[in-house]
Every structure is written in C-alpha cells, then in structure tokens.
C-alpha cells in the first residue's frame, strides 16, 4: 500500500464563478477529504490562487492535480509535500476581558506563543496567532480554561520553495501549445 501523506495543492485560475465547485468535484469524486482550503486573488491581475491541503497518496494527488490543471479555467496546478513549502495559518481567539485582567496568565501565554492582542473591549478580548496548526492548537488548549468564547482558524496559505515563477511556467506552457489544431 502506498503511503498516505499530507500534500498541499496550489491551483492558479481565472476568477470565474463556479470554478471552486468544479475543483471540489475532483476531490469528492475520489472521496478525498479537503482538510483546508484558502482562496484569494493572486498578484497577477485576474488570476486567483487556491491552496488546498489533503491527506492522501502521491499517485492520488498527482491524478487530482492533473485533472485540476485540465479544467478549462485553470492556468496551472501543482502539488507539494510539506517540506517544499513555507506555510502559515492564522487563528483568532475570543476570551472574556475579565479573564485577561483577573491574572497575568493570559498575557504570559500571549508572550510565550508570540501571539498578539488584536482588540480589547469591556466584554471580550481578541487574540491573534499565526503559525502551524499544532501551534495554534496548543494555544487553543491553553486558553480553554479561561472561558474561551470563540475560536476560528483559517485555511493554509503557502509560499513554495522552488524559485520558478508562475509567469515562467505559463510562458513555457504557452510556448509548448498549439491553440488551433495543427496539420489538418
């Protein structure tokens, strides 16, 4: 049996309605669960990027990535092992301000975990931390006893280690393509 690993898929596409649906169909068809998904505008105008984290085998992630790249509105799709990317997630924690002022425990946690206080109101305080899931999870566990009111964690954002830029990939792909059938 092939090993199941964590993979991060990056998809670059046109910003078209329905594309997210077309992408997720590729995963549901093969019964692969999406662990996290982040989408936003890329720095090239009109291009959108998706960062999708899944746990599966390499042969499966390769097939899904190929099928993603095959979608008409997709420019390029890649998959990476966790070693090949720098990544972060952001987490927000809402705690009662009372708990913050009662002792200095929360303040210590904020310092120790390199988190920061985003907002303080008479009722609640919002703490922000970026990091890997294990780190934001650890802080969550520590804050639970203080009467945590709300918690949210984003999907993964990732920057890849390879130096080749998307624009270069696209230029190469375009150079290697006929846009109308040749020889007929």
């Amino acid at each position: 049996m092939e090993k199941v690993e964590e993979f991060t898929i990056k998809v670059y596409s046109e910003n078209h309605i329905g594309l997210l649906n077309r992408l997720t169909i590729l995963f549901t068809r093969r019964k692969v669960n999406i662990e996290s998904l982040t989408t936003s505008e890329y720095h090239i105008p009109g291009v959108h990027s998706f960062t999708i984290v899944i746990n599966t085998t390499e042969s499966m992630v390769r097939k899904i990535t190929q099928q993603a790249e095959k979608l008409v509105d997709v420019l390029k799709a890649f998959y990476y092992r966790t070693d090949d990317i720098h990544y972060q997630e952001i987490a927000l924690y809402k705690v009662p301000t009372e708990a913050l002022t009662a002792t200095n425990e929360i303040e210590k946690l904020v310092r120790r975990y390199n988190a920061r206080i985003l907002e303080v109101t008479p009722e609640y305080t919002v703490i922000e931390k970026t990091g890997h899931k294990e780190e934001t999870q650890e802080l969550l566990d520590k804050l639970q006893p203080f009467g945590l009111l709300e918690f949210v964690r984003s999907g993964r954002v990732a920057i890849t280690k390879p130096m080749k830029e998307l624009a270069t990939h696209l230029r190469e792909k375009e150079d290697a393509t006929h846009f109308v059938q040749n020889g007929n």
Binding site: I25, Q66, E69, H178
Partner: protein, 577 residues
Amino acid sequence: MEKKAKKFIKEIPAPGTEVTGSEALILALMEEGTDTMFGYPGGAIMPVYDALFDYRDRLHHVLVRHEQGAAHAAESYAKILGKTGVVMVTSGPGATNLITGLANAMVDSVPMVAFSGQVPSGLLGTDAFQETDVMGITMPVTKWNYQITKAEEIPEIVAQAFYIASTGRPGPVMIDITKDAQFGKLKWHYERCTKIRSYFPYPKVNKEKVEEAAHLINKSKKPLLIAGQGVLISNATDELMELVTRADIPVTTTLLGISSFPGDHPLNVGMPGMHGNMAPNIKTNECDLLIAVGMRFDDRITGKLDEYAPQAKIIHIEIDQAEIDKNVKTDVAIVADAKEALQGLLTMVKENDHKEWVESFAKEFEHEYDHVIKPAREAKGDDIKMDEVVHMISEKTKGEAVVVTDVGQHQMVVARNYRFRKARSFVTSGGLGTMGFGLPAGVGAKVASPDRTVIAFTGDGGFQMTIQELGTIAQHKLPLKMVLLNNSFLGMVRQWQDMFFDKRYSFTELANPEFTKVAEGYGIPGQRVDKREDLEKAVDALLASEGPYLLEVKVMKEQNVYPMVPAGASVSNMVTQ
C-alpha cells in the same frame, strides 16, 4: 455558389445592427458553421425559438421527442461529421433531461454545445417555475459550462463554447441563458475564438519523446498498436495506416476506435477487451511493445490492471495529460494530438517485417473463428443468433454503411461482426454504456449522412428506453433502417446472471409489445422475422426500403456473447463458453 441566388426568409443583419440576444444566438450558431441542431422548445427558451423561426431555412432544426434524444442525436451527428453537435432545450426538466446525454458525450469525448433556457436573472435562486441549478447540475458532466445573464455576453461566450467543445480533447459544453438575456439587445458583432488564456488544447509534440518512441518501435520484435477514437478525432487514419504498414504492426481497435482502421485489412486483428477478440487480448500479454494511440486504457479493455501487459514497454500517445499513467503506467508518453504525434513518428520509424508475429495472431483468430464466430454466424438450431443477422447485413452492405448501436449484447455482436471499411462510420455509447442511445443516435447519424445507408441496431430493452424517437423519425421522414434484435431479455445482464449469479434471472425478462405495430402507429413500415429461412428476404427488404423501416428479428432468448474476459480477470484468460 448557387446559394447566392436563393432568397432567404431573412437576411443576416450587418455588423453593428441592434439585435436581440435570441437573434444573436442564432446568428452566432451560423457563424460557427452550424446548419443543423437538435432540440425541444419550452417556456424559458421561447425567445430563441422565435428568432430561429426567421432562420429556419438555413438552420435546420430537428424536433426530437425527449431532450435526452436531442443530446444523443447531436452526439452521433458530431461523431460522423467531425463537427460540433448543437442542442437546444428549455430550463428545468428540459435541462435535467439532457444530463445522460451530456455524461455520455463527456466520457466519449464528443464535441457538443448545448443551450438551455433559464428563468429571468432576477428570479435565479428563488425556485421559480422550471428553474433548476443547471450550472451546478451539469458541472461534473461537461468540459465547461457558463450562465449568460446579459445579451451582450452572447457572441463572445458562444464563440468560446464552440472553441472549447471542439478543440483538444473534445467534450460537451453547456450554456445556460436567462430569459432576460434572450430578450435583451446588443449591437451584433461576431468573432470566432482562437485562444483562451487558461486553456491549452494542443500540447506540441515533444521531439525527444518521439525519438524515444521511434527507437522502441524500430527495435521491437513483437509490437502491437491499439487505435482508439483519438485517431478518428484527429483525422489521423492515413498516418496510422502508413505507420503500421511501414513497420508491420498489428492493429487492434477499441470500441470507439473501430472504424479508424479498415476491418478487412490484414493487419487488423480485431477489438481488444471484455468482449473483444481473442488474439489482441492474448497477444497484449505476449507483445514486447504496446503502442496506444488516442485511447484511455478503460477497465473494459485492460481487465485486471496488474496483469495487463506487464512484459511490454508501453508508448501512450494521448492529448489529455490527465490520462497519462491514470490506469496503466507508461514508458514513453507523447502528450499531443494523435495526428501530429504520428506524423512525428513517421519521420523516424523504419520499415520492418514481423511476419511470424503477425501470423501468430491468425492462429488465435482461427481458434476463435472455429469455436465462437463460425458457430454463431452459421447457427444450426431453430433460433436465429444475433451474429448471423449482423454478419449478413455487414456482407450485404459491403461494410460501407453507417452503423449505430444501442448498448448491451447486440452492441458487442455488432462490434465483433460488422466489418467497417470507412472511417467515422460507427457510433456507439462507449464509456457510459447508455441504454436508449441507439434510436436517437440513429436519428443524428441519418441527419448527418443523408446519402449513406444508416443502420441502427438496438435490443428490445434499449429500444424501449427512447422508443418515442420513432416520432422524430416519422416527422422528419428519416430513412433510417432499424434492426431490433429482440431476445425478450435485458440480455447482457441476463448473461451475467447466468455466468456469475447462478442463473438467478432477477428482473431481466421483458414482456414486449408488438414492435412492428408500434412502428406502424407512427407510419413506419417493418416486419418481424423469427425463422431463419425468412431472414435474408427481410434484410433485403430493409436495405431496399426508401423510407424508415423497422426489422425486428426474434433471436435466441439465451444467447451469451463470447469470448469474454470476466470482470477483474486478466486479458489472457478469455472464456469461450
């Protein structure tokens, strides 16, 4: 240019003229070279049908009896002519009735553009009358889809739809148009699409890969080539012929690739796969090189993957990168249009002679002929076998007819027994295995080839799934020759019940109507045959008929199709009984 003299109902407006979205859609279709479409009107597409009325003399509309039929007919039309099929339906049930047809066209790579009407954009998402989420529902079964909500989008989106449907690996495109976009106004202007930034339809041939492949071909002692539908789609039949005759390579054609190589050519060794011929299956596991051209290693071809050609080097020529290594791991992959790839190979492949290897196929064929083919074609008992009917029609039409099938036993019998001599002559439902495909596909095939004999073979099960298309055939006076091989069973399912479920015939026997009377109700003549001595005369009557004709042949009730690679078995293990 005799058309110049002809007076049309309405002249095409000059660029810049203000037109409605509906008229723009019709004009756009004509700009794309569409002269025939298949459809069914309804509330949300009425403005388009109204615009069509002005252009009905140059945009021929075939009124089907069910939207599924429109999709299958358009698909068949597209396959035969190699041009994009066009379908027009209304919203809601009109669109949902298309789904089977879209799915079929998707898996069989057929260029098709389907248009559905939609409720006015202000009502989207409100569960308005006959509203359905066409985008969501068609996404998994289309190559691309788009919802038009403004009239001015129509020219550009239609141009993109045709470009996407017909290029690269072809497929169906669904365009949903809200009613307000159909009524809206725009200044008419049209430009065909030749490029989309995110779409890379024809990867250029990689010369190094071609060199590697040519090297493998030149040194191979026992090569075998599998020709798929890609050869037909890319019009590469000449290149295929040149390659295999020069290098002396036996050719096996997949179900959808069947007419890509002449059936009577000495290098044609038949069809591979579950109900294919013995030689190509057995030799798949003996060859030293397997060259797959424009095919996707479907499980019906490979059988057990671990035991599929493990000894052979594999070259895969395929335009769709996502097919490479999907099922079978390849040694050399050329991701390109089959024609361009084969042209590349032809510059490097040398003349060769594999006499002994080629002859070894004949030995396998003789075995199959003696044990399976001949006994079925020259059946002795009281019952007529499907094979004798198909063989007789193949002989009498000299393999030159356009042949359409439904799905099931008769489909395999036709694939095995009709000897095609012309490309783009066989239309069948491959990947999806859609029962009910045959009759509407017959409609599309006849509309596409008015000057050729078109024969639609169906079984009694599939015939009744889309039997209403007899109405289309009658109304359009389509001289389609229908051959109904009636065994009063869902034969293929019954065969599996016989072989793998202890003969427990769970709900596979059919109580059928008198089909010729049903046809007669539509004004379609025909006859029923149940005795061998009447068969030839009946076939002659079918072939001589001027208009549509239904020949029903009562065939053996429990005939099994052999040989067979049982599901999940190795292709080496074909059973003959």
